[in-house]
Assembly symmetry: C2
Homo-oligomer: 505 residues x 2
């Protein structure tokens, strides 16, 4: 054969791979690419050595390497031949990440990555997640409901039910709302798999890419990726303090926003309650500008001082409020049951979209809830929760006062959270505090997670509901340690690193 089929023969003698491997790889590429078809006789070793300007040993080693790769075979006394069916390398794995739609990284992802990069002790106390205390779940009541009712469960109740939800549950929910000032029938109720799904569906049916949406800042962190991925342009309304109606009106006139997403009662994370007069003023403005309001009300029942004003939905003069609730806080999150109260056209359209997402929410949860509500067990349970969480709120306030005097906060009159602010702004901020806190064995959610753009660097959210009193106290004590450690660091940082007299090279 013509030795030139092997060439070109320029090799990089300074490369790190031994020459015999470079030669073997050069030939292997030609075999794999079928430029040297099966059966081709390769040049004798001596000729190969001359071709590449290498020693005969190098040439021999190159052919040995090719043999090991299964690409050639040597017939004694005859020469080296390209193999009939060159043993293929294992199949190229699918580059899955490249096959998928690009994923928008959320700012939260960075914060969480920060958090997990910290060594967290095994006994870390989480004051971060917004979860009820599992010890307070009404498990005993649910067990009893199962025992008494499950055997008489109608098999049809285990099949497909309407996308809007299990009718007995919707009827009970509607009756409850009607009693408390929100006139509704089952046709105004859609059961969703958690209020997050309700928000996802509402974003899907209301938002065209480019539409403006107003949210509070800070706001529920789960709402932000939903609006972001829906293509909405997000405007912000400061959450703590009095409602800035003039700013809202400016937005309404300037941008004609599609909707306002608001949590008027025990706002997550700030704990703010909108007073009745501000509710009415907001609704009047909304009615004038025909603004749709999504009112999220996960904590309304969990009040520890006076009862909060009625929901916007109950005061709504023109019918533009869509109301969102959940059982995740008052019962338990694993139920995955929330619901939307809205005019029928909205419920109908929401059901149309929900069809594709899960056809309907799981029956067992809905069936169980219908028994729980049907037996009137909710109000007693909520009363017990109020008593217990009120104690924890007070204990947390006292502990914060005692151990974390450098924080400013206002004890909330309901809900799950203290919204804390570093008293003297430091360059450290709450992300750095979180690192130190994790080292001390306590976690919270840094403020930035609740802002759609910038903000919250000096704030953080602390949940007082999840843990028992002693654990809660211990957690806040650890937080205190983290704060004083951070103060020391900040103090150390303020010393110049290099003395002015030192030469800078």
């Amino acid at each position: 054969m013509d030795a030139s089929i092997i060439g070109p023969i320029s090799f990089d003698a300074t490369a790190t791979a031994p020459m015999y491997l470079q030669i073997a790889e050069h030939i292997a590429a030609k075999i794999r690419g079928r430029l040297l078809p099966a059966g081709t006789k390769l040049p004798p070793e001596r000729q190969l050595a001359a071709l590449f300007g290498v020693s005969r040993t190098t040439a021999i080693n190159a052919y040995r390497q090719l043999e090991e790769l299964g690409l050639v075979r040597t017939k004694v006394g005859s020469g080296t031949y390209v193999n009939e069916a060159p043993a293929e390398a294992g199949p190229q794995p699918v580059p899955w990440h490249q096959t998928m739609v690009p994923h928008l990284p959320s700012p939260l992802a960075g914060i969480l990555r920060d958090l997990v990069s910290v060594d967290i002790a095994g006994d870390t106390i989480s004051l971060g997640t917004g979860l009820p205390d599992p010890a307070l779940y009404p498990t005993a009541a649910f067990t009893s409901l199962f025992e008494r009712h499950f055997a008489r469960l109608n098999n049809a109740d285990l099949g497909h039910i309407p996308t809007e939800g299990y009718l007995p549950l919707r009827t009970l929910l509607a009756a409850g709302h009607s009693r408390s000032g929100i006139p509704a029938t089952a046709a105004n109720i859609a059961v969703v798999s958690g209020s997050m799904q309700g928000l996802y569906l509402l974003a899907k049916i209301f938002i065209n890419p480019g539409d403006y949406v107003i949210v509070e800042a800070p706001t529920y962190l789960g709402a932000l990726p939903i609006f972001r991925t829906s293509g909405a342009r997000v405007l912000t309304l400061p959450a703590p303090g009095p409602l800035q109606l003039d700013l809202l009106e400016d937005y309404l006139v300037r941008y004609r926003p599609k909707l306002l997403y608001i949590m008027p009662t025990f706002q997550n994370p700030s704990g703010r309650v909108l007073p009745l007069a501000e509710r009415r003023a907001l609704l009047a403005l909304a009615a004038r500008h025909r603004l749709i309001i999504i009112e999220d009300d996960p904590y309304g029942d969990l009040h520890y001082d006076q009862q909060p004003p009625p929901p916007l939905k109950a005061l709504d003069p023109y019918g533009g409020v869509v109301y969102l609730r959940t059982f995740s806080k008052a019962l338990f999150p694993g139920l995955r049951v929330g619901w939307v109260v809205a005019p029928e056209p909205v419920i109908d359209r929401l059901a149309m979209e929900k069809q594709y997402i899960d056809l309907h929410s799981a029956n067992l949860s809905q069936w169980l809830l219908s028994k729980f509500l049907g037996e009137g067990l909710l109000s007693g349970h909520v009363e017990r929760l109020r008593a217990e969480y009120k104690k924890r709120r007070d204990i947390a306030a006292a502990a914060l006062q005692r151990h974390c005097s450098s924080l400013s906060f206002a004890p909330p009159s309901g809900g799950f959270y203290f919204w804390c602010r570093l008293a003297r702004s430091s360059s450290a901020g709450t992300r750095l505090l979180l690192h130190e806190a994790a080292r001390q064995g306590v976690a919270f959610v840094p403020g930035e997670a609740f802002y759609p753009d910038s903000g919250g660097e000096q704030e953080f959210r602390l949940c007082f509901a999840t843990n028992s009193e002693p654990v809660l106290q211990e957690g806040i004590k650890r937080l205190g340690k983290a704060l004083s450690h951070l103060d020391k660091i900040a103090h150390a940082d303020s010393r110049p690193l290099i003395h002015a007299s030192q030469p800078i090279i």
Copy 2:
């Protein structure tokens, strides 16, 4: 005051509303529009009568009407005045439909509208929906599981669980797959709220608008709106008959499609089973062209003759198959539990999207299933289903032969469906047959619902699983009546409506 503020004064005497109401409405509009501000004195009745060319009584009645609307008040001896704060008419209701994102109407919607427009007798037998028979749900086994385990339920199991699903369930599912030739760990499993949600999420992570997707035609009707709304361009591969690999390769070369959605075993609706050789050939072609395959396998366990070949996922040489399953057919749909078996990068990304949709599927279903599988109850249950559904398949085949001899069909060796074709093509088609069938008290799904574009006019799907044997037989008997009635109509239609000798005006 100047009476001309009331004008212009042209009224339509032929209008149906009484003249006094027309005048009142004319003035009311000016008051509401603030052209007649509060406090304005309106012309005396006599002058108003002259202004509009009506009797004084009509003028008096017009003012009375305005008084009733609360827009004016009459001061005796002084005149009629526009009210200070005109009582506003009820607020304009929100035009909800105009506020929402336009909804793509599906071709199925038209078919369903057709269906509901027909008078359906109360005792209509549905052979339409693809549902298991509720009488065969393992309710007793589930009740026993609840009784034995619920009291010992860990409260943490009722809180939030990983988005990918309840770990004990995922571990059991992975072990089951590994035993049957699909090596998997819990990290390869994502629990979804029904396989429909699995498909929705896969479309969300893989499809950019404009991407090509290949589906079978006919195919699962729930898949079509998901691909349509994802913005995919849909290519079709004929489902019954041998796999058209040459057509598939043409698509692969011509369009570089993103994925193939296929149901190789007991295809819904055609019942087709892809033979082993065709599975291997499909996989070789897919590997060569790096095609992602979504294999939907809801019916694989429900075989009534020989066992079908292994799933594509078990034969996959290059790792490009994503596998989708559900408990809706073998257990019950109300569980809302399906699952995806896929490489970890796909599971991770799918979980990221599922977070926004429902955080995770409901715990009770997953917990219950983990007990059911853990006690090894599934295989015995599936065996009982096979025996029962096999009988129904045979009974349906015999009844179709007897009552519907004008249909052509092949009894399926598994799954839930007969795919029937009108033996002699008629202009009537299966949509018209459905109307006649509904009148006779039986329903099915017309073929068009399963095609992404045109096709299926002479075909329909009939489910033999949902109903007990006598009901199934009666349903098919009614279908026979509908068919012979349709034959008569078709015969009548074929007579010319107008005799040639008759003059056409």
